[in-house]
Amino acid sequence: MKRQSASEVTFEILITLLMLVICFITLYPIWYVLVNAFNDGEDAMRGGIYWIPRVFSLSSFNAVFRSEGIMTAMWITIAKTVVGVVVHVFFTAMVAYAFSRKELIGRKLYMLIGTITMFFGGGLIPYYLLIRDLHLLDNFLVYIIPAAFSFFDLIIFLSFFREIPAGLEEAARIDGANDFQIFYKVIIPVSMPVVATIALFHGVYQWNDYFTGMIYMNDMDLQPIQTFLYRVVAQSSSNQMLAAMPSGVSVSVTSQSLKLATMVVTTAPIVIVYPFLQKYFVKGFMIGSIKG
């Protein structure tokens, strides 16, 4: 190893410092919300809580878990994420596998049909009318069926499937498996990195999407937590927050502290999961960048 010159050492220190500053700017706004959520609600209204809670309290979180409105919305989010991810990954991968087979009759036409959808679409209004005509308004399936497929994700699957050695499929075929059985018994098990990547991407979409719930759901019992929060945050209606407040809760819980605690509870699962999947989605991006 060559010895580093003085200017190289300075450079190294400078970018390290810069990176630390960027990390601080990234984390602090989130930390600020956390310490305020873990503070007594009434006390927090005075402001000035920057580093640690002034009056530590879990009562806002207690209220979140006791609120019927918030918990219903939470379960809708969990259900749409779990079902949505399974359906999206399985369906998109299945179509991608069929499209990846060179002998598929009509393959070029099918790919063209898909490629066009990446560059042109009908837009919001015709789409809304379609959803209405399909009777998907106020229907839980509006979270699942219209999100079951993505041509963009198909391309990521496709480039992964092309790398799978043909010998694997051949062995299964000799054992008498049909193409569908080959897909889910042979292809899916060896494609876990790309399955994990797409599952994470789609899971984040399902978990964070408030728009679908906002425009296609009038039934409040079917709205996911993000739509609930949207109505609270964007329309700054503390009414909905107050309506969600469980009875008999401590007076120190304000609508603001209940909102912050709901935000924390909503975000926590995804923030806990993604570092563990990091190596997968970075690999997923590698496939994308090599293709590009």
């Binding site: 596998y97 598929l104 099918y110 000799i174 945050v233 975000t267 590698m286």
Partner: protein, 322 residues
């Protein structure tokens, strides 16, 4: 390869004697499972992508809830004319393009710079930590981020507290209630949320560069800056071009999720963009045909921008999407 287990070993030979249609039918039957799998996807695309494309014709009709799309009377370009004469056209277009262009000019190069600098970090553990931390905001929803920002920017929020403590302002400012702050808030929050995440693709491209190139350059006595300029940047030029084409074609695509959360009646003149406008007049006021016409104008311009950007980068450095 295409010989199926069900077909008898002798069938490839007999097939050559038959007409090509029979061979084709036989092939189709052999791949019936594959065809069903593929056609389910095609059917999905026809329903969810192509039927809405057909639905665009309501832009040229006077569609209402009572009539079906085909029964509605034709009105030609009336809706398009109306939009061009609308008072809000000026600021809607200005906000859409203005915010996108600033996002493009500032937000496009920053992740590239960030990836290049991160690549210079020697400690792998530190680099991984920086990556994990800067990916975090990407996983927050815009609703949650909107809530965070409302907390920061409120009258008792940290921003007002700091500025007042430093004597920059005497009275707390309601940032989200004043149009002049809106663009800044949108652009800053967008960069804050996506900087680390957007850098992943460049880091992935950088990591696929052969280490031998750098070794050779080191032997030739090249410094860090020279290696970055002569090896790293040229190697990721293709990735940059592709992402640039996509960014250009998305100029009319405001971040709907983001703006819908941050906008309100008070900042309307600097927050209303085409997507929000379509949503308001279409779904909130029920003027489906008019809103579809506005949406169509947007889609067509976006397509032209995409084709334009594609042909420019093709000529400049031989990379293109298609």
């Amino acid at each position: 390869m295409s010989v199926k287990v069900e077909t008898k070993p002798s069938s490839p030979q007999t097939a050559t004697g038959r007409s090509s249609i029979q061979v084709w039918v036989q092939k189709l039957i052999a791949q019936r499972y594959l065809q069903v799998m593929a056609l389910l996807g095609v059917a999905w695309m026809i329903v969810f992508n192509y039927i809405p494309m057909y639905g665009i014709i309501i832009a040229f009709k006077e569609f209402d809830i009572i009539h079906s799309i085909s029964d509605a009377p034709w009105v030609g370009f009336d809706h398009f004319k109306e939009f061009l004469e609308d008072d809000s056209l000026g600021y809607v277009i200005k906000n859409t393009i203005g915010m996108s262009l600033i996002k493009l000019i500032i937000g496009f190069p920053l992740p590239i710079l960030f990836a290049l600098l991160m690549n210079e970090l020697r400690s792998m553990i530190f680099k991984r930590w920086v990556q994990t931390i800067t990916y975090l905001p990407h996983f927050l929803s815009w609703v949650v981020l909107g809530g965070i920002m409302a907390t920061w920017l409120s009258d008792v929020g940290i921003v007002n507290k700091i500025l007042m403590a430093l004597n920059f302002i005497q009275e707390p400012i309601m940032y989200l209630a004043e149009p002049k702050y809106f663009w800044g808030i949108v652009i800053t929050s967008d960069i804050w949320k996506e900087l680390g995440w957007s850098a992943i693709i460049y880091l992935a491209a950088i990591s696929s560069i052969s280490p031998e190139l750098y070794e050779a350059a080191t032997i030739d006595g090249a410094g860090r800056g020279q290696k970055m300029w002569n090896i790293t940047i040229p190697s990721i030029k293709g990735t940059i071009s592709i992402l640039f084409i996509l960014a250009i074609s998305g100029v009319l695509n405001s971040n709907f999720d983001q703006i819908l959360v941050l906008r309100n009646q008070l900042n309307e003149t600097s927050s209303n963009v085409i997507d929000v406008y379509v949503y308001q007049v279409g779904l909130l006021s029920g003027r489906y045909s008019y809103a579809a016409a506005v949406g169509l104008i947007k889609s067509v311009i976006a397509l032209i921008l995409l084709l334009g950007a594609n042909s420019v980068t093709k000529r400049l450095n031989n990379t293109s999407l298609f």
